[in-house]
Symmetry: C2
């Protein structure tokens, strides 16, 4: 493969395909970007030859002129965190199907701002950014990404401070926590559960704030006293220690709402293996997320779930729409939660 098209650097170029097919290089470009007119038989010939030569338009060159890299930056504090790994997994599949690819970055695990990382990521020119940084305001984020379209991922209700007069300033995915939490509280109420404790996640994170707030609202609406709050950080180990502390030093509880499934596992293990209590007979436990492990027999956790695939579909829809119409008004989609009843309650 070195007679006239030099096959430099190992990849075929549009020039070679053109020569082989007796067409101009422009025709080759047109064959791949269908929106301009080109005689059908010609396109067919070009595509066949391209296939033969294993040719694909070079993405760097394409990005240079079009300004689109087809990369979606994903910033995440911890890939191992089960919920997030599930989301990354689904997201990668979905983006792949739409001609994009996931560009993964890791940030500090406290959900806070990381200017250094953001600048670094910006250098790769992602077309859009999905940030798992719950403590950062969108307006702060957007200042560091001039060209990219940021989608700020979080779970709570719309945040008034980030809204303009005519609605939200940025595309947003909202999760209405009400449904699942209300079902859970109703279920507990049915068992005459009295002392309900909320084990928090990372205190300042938006999802944690939203979950606690909604829990208070729901309990008040049902005529229950507000829950006691124990500080956690979404991790197994902290939940484990906090639970022991709650029962050894504190007043104990009849039911514990954990801010996510992983910390619910910590709660359950502390109750059973350290405190000698039974779940659900002595203490009932509810989690958030419904990750894959929640149905494992050792835990069999009752938890507040929302549909992951639905969420990812919505997210990809938002991203694609924004890329096609950069100046369209900000959009938001709303998802709902529901309760998955398993063995840790009832």
């Amino acid at each position: 493969m070195d007679k006239d098209g030099q096959m430099a650097r190992g990849r075929a170029t549009a020039e070679m395909v053109a020569r082989q097919a007796n067409v101009s290089r422009v025709a080759v470009s047109r064959a791949f970007n269908s929106h301009t007119s080109l005689k059908p038989e010609k396109r067919e010939l070009i595509l066949r030859i391209a296939q033969e030569l294993n040719y694909t338009p070079d993405r760097a060159a394409r990005a240079l002129v079009s300004g689109r890299t087809h990369l979606i930056g994903v910033i995440v504090p911890d890939v191992c965190s089960y919920w997030e790994s599930q989301e990354i997994d689904a997201l990668t599949t979905a983006l792949q199907n739409e001609g994009f690819a996931t560009l993964l970055f890791k940030t500090r695990s406290d959900f806070s701002m990381d200017e250094k990382l953001l600048a670094y990521m910006r250098g790769f020119n992602p077309d859009s950014v999905i940030a798992f940084m719950e403590n950062v305001r969108p307006s702060t984020l957007v200042r560091f990404l001039d060209r990219a379209v940021p989608i700020y991922v979080h779970y709570p209700h719309p945040d008034a401070e980030d809204d303009g007069e005519d609605g939200p300033l940025y595309d947003r995915l909202n999760v209405l926590q009400h449904g699942g939490i209300d079902q859970a509280v109703a279920l507990l109420q049915g068992y005459n559960t009295r002392r309900i404790v909320y084990l928090s996640g990372a205190v300042k994170s938006r999802s944690n704030v939203a979950r606690e707030k909604m829990l208070r609202t729901v309990m008040a609406a049902r005529g229950l006293p507000p829950p006691r709050v124990v500080i956690g950080d979404y991790s197994y180990d902290t939940a484990y220690a906090a639970t022991i502390d709650l029962f050894r030093v504190g007043d104990g509880a009849d039911a514990i709402f954990a801010s996510n499934d992983v910390s619910a596992f910590g709660v359950i293990d502390a109750l059973r293996h350290e405190l000698g209590l039974r779940v659900p007979e002595d203490v009932k436990v509810v989690g958030f997320d419904d990750i894959a492990q929640s149905h494992w027999k050792s835990y069999d956790l009752t938890t507040v779930k929302f549909d992951l695939s639905e969420r990812v579909r919505a997210l990809v829809r938002l991203i694609l729409r924004r890329l096609n119409e950069p100046d369209a008004p900000a959009l938001q989609e709303t998802l709902h939660t529901s309760l998955v009843v398993r063995g840790t309650v009832g």
Copy 2:
């Protein structure tokens, strides 16, 4: 920012920096790629102005001329799989520190070849590829990636069929399974355990083959009869069902070697919650990997571990070396395993 440097598309260009600093555009390029000579004060001025303008060399343009994208393709069947998510996490951090970024792709979950995906990934021109595709030979993989340098990730011993006369044909990371497995078998032998069962992973996967083979070798060397083999696929659910089947229909066992930690969890849960057996009193269980959940109280798993961070360091070292010296002879590094003793044995 539109007086002469037009700030097109939102990003500053080298041209603008040059104009602002009264230098030629070439000088700006030199200031960023230090290997050519440039008056120090000039470089300083340029870098200062660049910072002011928030300028970074465009990676697409840079890739176009240099042929380097600084992207490392990572192909993985399942991001949620805990061991792999841990590896992706560590890898992303390490690559980030070296000026690269992780480009994530998802493939079929049976570890087999996926030409479609490979062609798709090739389109993004990654500088190197890390593939979690244990059923695919490196030689097959390399056929689909003309320019990229593939690193084939697997756990077993060197595979003779992929070696040339003067050693291995490709860079490789080998894991010597012997240490941890031998310790585990010795421990079981100490308890006079007789009927040992190996619960396989995905049957054709290299890591599974290597683990089973080494288990046989070690047991033979210690004068034990070969283990019975039960078919699994690395998943919790399959392990759960297979264990029930083993005890209800089959002969049962005194100890079960699970091919990874997740399936060990499935084994434990089936024994305790479905078959009413005690672990470790009635049946002992050993896993592979030592993922984060293995120390959780519900499982407290004894398992064969090797150092993840050491592994990732070695991997990154291999990649960087290959990028700097594309024609250097193939290199291999070897890692060792050890046993982490917890509650499921003894």
